[in-house]
Symmetry: C2
Subunit: 323 residues, 2 copies
């Protein structure tokens, strides 16, 4: 057996890949543009070529397995794509696992990218010290994905679709979500919603420090920029706290349902840091009254943007079989 | 080994007990008043005496084990009561399992009553045909409790407190719940809330058929009475549908989180029947858009009011160890 595996984190804009040893230590990794307009076949070839290049650079000649995190719903049993909201529709029903397996001569496991990131956090992040951890992982980017781990095992369901924590209904008649439902957490507290609130405040003259920081440029308004001025623009701070509270409600709901040991906040928005972690933590304390919650840890992701690729490595290592 | 076990379903008003064979067939069962005012010691003696009487009637001389469902938070590891909202405060920290074990000379398992009912539905109700079922159980009575089963295993957490599905926040600034939080499902759609809506409509002259059925007597207004007149009093029907939608939101939230095979509606309010099951089902369809939900079954409890005692029998049979 070859003592290395590969992982791929496929996104709408970039393909990240890595080669790792059997302890999950990255030997070499790289990111290239997805070029999704070229179609699935071309993208799959780019993925295989990237892994081939990295493998050669690592000094090994073959990989023992490949894990792939993909941005949407996949058939985890057959390794086939189902629905990718951020990629062209021709991505439907593509047997990605088979095609990559033929090109790279190894077993391939395909899984939703956020479930994959959850595996990363489980095996290489906050979950790694507790083999029977129960964990809720929120990936807060433009949208909000998630993953649920019960007693050390990633919860998948038949479709690998369990753990969509961003699509809990937080406000029954709230704004329409990209998924079609109303009032999903994602529609209220995803990066897009937070940024829209920031732009609105800035354009209304209610966020002078944000205006100064961004030069009044809407495109420069991000959750992280908003966090930077939160001490000076109280309404910007309020917008971040409102989003944190909504995430806290979703976290409290999952806490009452499964009583996890650990709630992890990942994704780009989690980089706003302590304000988010503290708001989510206090909302859990405030809302979960049926049992003591003082032993439930709320943490920012230990792996940050690396959670996805580390999860793909965990998947390749068969640390959690999708089936 | 003696081929019988016993189960007790302890409630604020009644103690139900049963003797069953090792296949869970009830041999004899009975309900007596709890008389909780007499204090824990007296109630525990009543429980033991009732089991002793039933055992004698069954023709056996000893039991192999006893399962007890108790109305609140219990320390499942030590079999000690923690917090029982509907019983006097002196019920705190009572070692019920030890005391009953000494009186009845058998191992005793103590578990929250609704988690116990979930076990009943799992092993003797809708879950019995699928040993790896994932299931969400809602017990909709005056309040709303619940239980979560993952891959055939009751989810407990350290405190046996996971599965409090009635304490999901459905409306962030909603009515204060008995638990202290605002906007819990229980506060919006529990039996007490449904009944209050019925009384309000009746007192306002907006529910003439309900008035006729109950003779205008507030105490006769129940969810079941409301269901009886729903075809004639459109606003009563609306109140039931509103409650069903709130329960459906909570169900949809748990569906997105764990993707169960089965959602079961139990407790007295579930007896209003099809209108509730259909409303919850359609709300799940409406709100869960991230993956197909057509294979998720929504059912009224197969065991109805027997779920608790059957769960206590399952607990005695060690079908699911609390630890």
């Amino acid at each position: 057996m070859n003592p290395v595996v590969a992982g791929i984190d496929l996104g709408g804009t970039s393909i990240k890949a890595a080669i790792a040893d059997l302890d999950g230590r990255l030997l070499v990794h790289r990111s290239i543009p997805t070029q999704s307009h070229a179609g699935p076949e071309a993208v799959i070839n780019r993925m295989a070529e990237l892994v081939g290049t990295l493998l050669a650079e690592s000094g090994y000649s073959a990989i023992q397995g490949l894990g792939v995190g993909a941005p949407g719903l996949v058939d985890i049993v057959h390794g086939v794509t189902k629905f990718f909201p951020n990629l062209p529709t021709q991505w439907r029903d593509i047997p990605v696992a088979d095609q990559l397996g033929r090109l790279l001569h190894c077993p391939v496991s395909l899984l939703n990218d956020v479930r994959t990131a959850t595996l990363g956090e489980l095996h290489f992040g906050h979950g790694k010290t507790n083999p029977t951890v129960t964990m809720a992982f929120f990936a807060i980017g433009t949208g909000i994905g998630g993953g649920v781990v019960i007693d050390g095992k990633l919860r998948l369901g038949d479709l690998g679709a369990a753990g969509e924590l961003g699509h809990q209904t937080i406000r029954a008649d709230g704004p329409r979500c990209g998924c079609g439902n109303r009032g999903c957490l994602e529609a209220i507290a995803g990066g897009a919603a937070i940024t829209a609130a920031g732009v609105r405040l800035m354009r209304s003259g209610l966020a002078p420090s944000l205006y100064e920081l961004t030069g009044g440029n809407n495109d420069q308004v991000t959750p992280r920029a908003m966090a930077e001025v939160a001490d000076r623009d109280p309404l910007v701070r309020e917008a971040l706290v409102d989003a944190g509270r909504a995430i806290g409600i979703a976290a409290a709901n999952i806490v009452t349902s499964i009583h996890p040991d650990l709630v992890v906040l990942g994704g780009g928005v989690a980089e706003i840091g302590d304000l988010l972690v503290e708001t989510v933590g206090s909302e859990i304390t405030e809302r979960v009254r049926m049992f003591p919650t003082d032993r439930i840890r709320v943490e920012a992701s230990m792996l940050g943007p690396q959670a996805g690729i580390m999860g793909a490595i965990a998947l390749a290592l068969k640390k959690s079989k999708p089936q």
